[in-house]
Amino acid sequence: MSKKTIAINFDTGWDLNPAPESTSHIQLNEQYQLFIGGKWVKPESGKYFATINPATEEKIAMVAEANEKDVDKAVKAARKAYNDVWSKMPAAERGKYIYRIARLMQEKARELAVIETMDGGKPIRESRDIDIPLAAAHFFYYAGWADKLNYAFPNRHPQSLGVAGQITPWNFPLLMAAWKIAPALATGNTVVLKPAETTPLTALKLAEIIQESGLPDGVVNIVTGAGATGAAVVNHKDVDKIAFTGSTGVGKIIQNAVAGTNKKVTLELGGKAANIIFEDAALDQAVEGIINGIYFNQGHVCCAGSRLFVQESVYDTVLRKLKDRMESLVVGNPLDKNTDVGAINSKEQLATIHNYLKIGKQEGGEMYQSNCSTPKKGYWCKPTLFTNLSQSNRIVQEEIFGPVLAVQTFRTVSEVIEKANNTPFGLSAGVWTDKGSKLFNLTAQMRAGIIWGNTYNKFDPTSPFGGYKESGFGREGGLHGLKPYLKF
């Protein structure tokens, strides 16, 4: 045996065969209409757009594009359902319909997972184990609240608002639809939902489930389309409430648009979360948390731990462990059960990420990518990290929304608090330390809505989610997620 350098050799010669999830059991139409008033309705304009599988660049289905008139129809259907049925129904009965939706989603979970992965590019492991079960759990959780609102807000006589206009992003299509629809229905509102244009399919499958559940017509309406459709929802005079998840830029446009109206608004926007590793942390698990924080869902996560702060004394060790761990990430076909990192959601997003990689290098950052191969077709970005950065770098300041980690070091607690909070965003943060009192100090000092201690990217229907500062306002999930849909 020749003398070796000390390094782990991950080229084991034992490569896993492809293990693609079967697509034979899923049912998809070639063309989808708008879901208005409990029926499938052709768009006024007659226009349809294609939704693409980002892993193959192949068209999956054509989807109707809703214009102002279609949105108006949807809002009218929602208003009618609100006035005639939904606001009059006993709360416990309302809850039963929501339970039915939850159960149907559980029954069709695998089909939904496969479609979510095909439409958005996320690994089947994530859609199967996280997105879909969580989405169903959200319906299950909020179903139970329907007849218990007086206990959530004692002495305040909570009442529904009316029609909620909801706009969801492309990173967690069905899960975000569940985050929006479930609390709205539980609180007695009716809904017009506009899913993201690159990932509309699971919302449309949800419409089928809603039909199957027997939910009264018009209680949930789903209109597909791009920004103009969303604007029509936001600007419609008869909408009482806007709930938006997406970029901070669009969030500001919405806040501007509803100024002077009586519309209630919740905005769940961008982030640039600090993930802080102290020297006394369980480092191997912290590394797992870094991986999960930034490479989960290709980094298309508003709460992604995209700014890594490592205490200087363990910087070399953490970087070594991180790079080793990156080598075992499987990048490729999202439908493969072994895939850890799937496809970038769209061509446009890939261009955005590439632009940031360029900026990162231009500004003096040192780029490292894992040694994996990526498929020829489709949109891909290898797990990436940048070192040699400081607070002034653009890739440290701006949300990239991709698998790109910006690494910095720190020496003291006060230094890292200052740096972590030195951002216009405030959605989330991660803290890794074996010392409880330090952890709770950090959770107290972070100016962000969700703090993960010794874990990252955990979600639960009972746990409120939402940001400080330019990451938006209002909370979704938990008891607190009821309030934005109620008046008192």
Binding site: F140, Y141, K148, G436, S437, A444
Partner: protein
């Protein structure tokens, strides 16, 4: 010739199994002079065995996630909905009109759904983060009390039973239930529903028999943590309260004479069988501008 029906043997429910009573005894409640069947006359040893089963189940049931308990309770309602005809029939056998029987079954199903919803919410209502004056993170949250003895109402067969059991187990308690002596049929069938609903064996144990014979054992057993008495007999209640002293059982009395009333659906029925736990944890004081030492 008409087909001979297969008649059901009514058993008790202990630790997820359906034994006859260890005593081998039975009694024969009657409705309008007609026998309802040979019902197990449970002994104190049956009760003892049931408490052992309930204690064994406490670990797994109380450690199940709130979401999981919620799903299991929902499943009970689903299974009950699927067998409502059988319950209606048994209620009619025990003297209900069809309309009354249906009302009772539907109310029972809806009540289970109601409490299923509370499993992952009651702690959000009853917990608190306490703003203590020192540098500590301090919070209070409920935990289930343990094993609960339940005496279900005498005058209803199903709705009273469900209203007693479900809030007790919603938080993770396990229980041993003595059911209506004169109307025991639905309780035994309800045990079959529980058994097919992912409720762990031993979480709910159901005994039929004479109240007089079992009451003092249920109240005095040292491994029972709380007692739910859901009947109106003041003398029995007093006996329970006295016997409970030995190990400081929490005794709760519900007046279920108007069991259908909405007031019997509330999270405080869950809170009656929890302990409040407060945790203190230090918070280091170092801010962005430096430390305080």
């Amino acid at each position: 010739m008409a087909r001979a029906e297969i008649l059901k043997t009514y058993k008790i429910y202990i630790g997820g199994k359906f034994p006859r009573t260890e005593s081998g005894r039975y009694y024969t409640p009657k409705q309008d002079g007609k026998s309802l069947g040979n019902i197990c006359l449970s002994s104190r040893k049956d009760f003892r065995n049931a408490v052992v089963a309930a204690r064994n189940a406490f670990g797994s049931w109380s450690n199940a996630t709130a979401f999981n308990r919620s799903q299991v309770l929902y499943r009970i309602a689903e299974m009950l909905e699927g067998r409502k005809a059988q319950f209606v029939e048994e209620l009619m056998q025990q003297g209900s009109s069809k309309a009354k029987a249906e009302k009772e079954v539907f109310a029972a199903i809806d009540r289970i759904i109601y409490f299923a919803g509370w499993c992952d919410k009651y702690s959000q209502i009853f917990s608190a983060v306490n703003p203590v004056a020192t540098s500590h993170f301090n919070f209070t949250a409920p935990e289930p009390t343990g094993v609960v003895s339940v005496v279900a109402p005498e005058d209803t067969s199903l709705i009273g039973l469900v209203s007693g059991i479900i809030p007790v187990i919603a938080s993770g308690n396990t229980c041993v239930v003595l059911v209506s002596e004169s109307k025991p049929l639905c309780a035994v069938t309800f045990a079959e529903v529980l058994n097919s609903s992912d409720v762990p064996g031993g979480a709910v144990n159901i005994l039929t028999g004479h109240t007089k014979e079992l009451l003092s054992h249920m109240a005095s057993h040292m491994d029972v943590n709380a007692f739910l008495y859901a009947r109106g007999d003041k003398k029995e209640l007093l006996e329970i309260q006295k016997q409970a002293v030995e190990n400081l059982k929490r005794v709760v009395h519900y007046d279920f004479s108007d069991v259908y009333a909405e007031k019997h659906q509330n999270p405080y029925y869950i809170e009656d069988f929890v302990e409040m736990k407060t945790t203190w944890h230090p918070i280091e004081k170092i801010g962005a501008s430096g430390s305080g030492y």
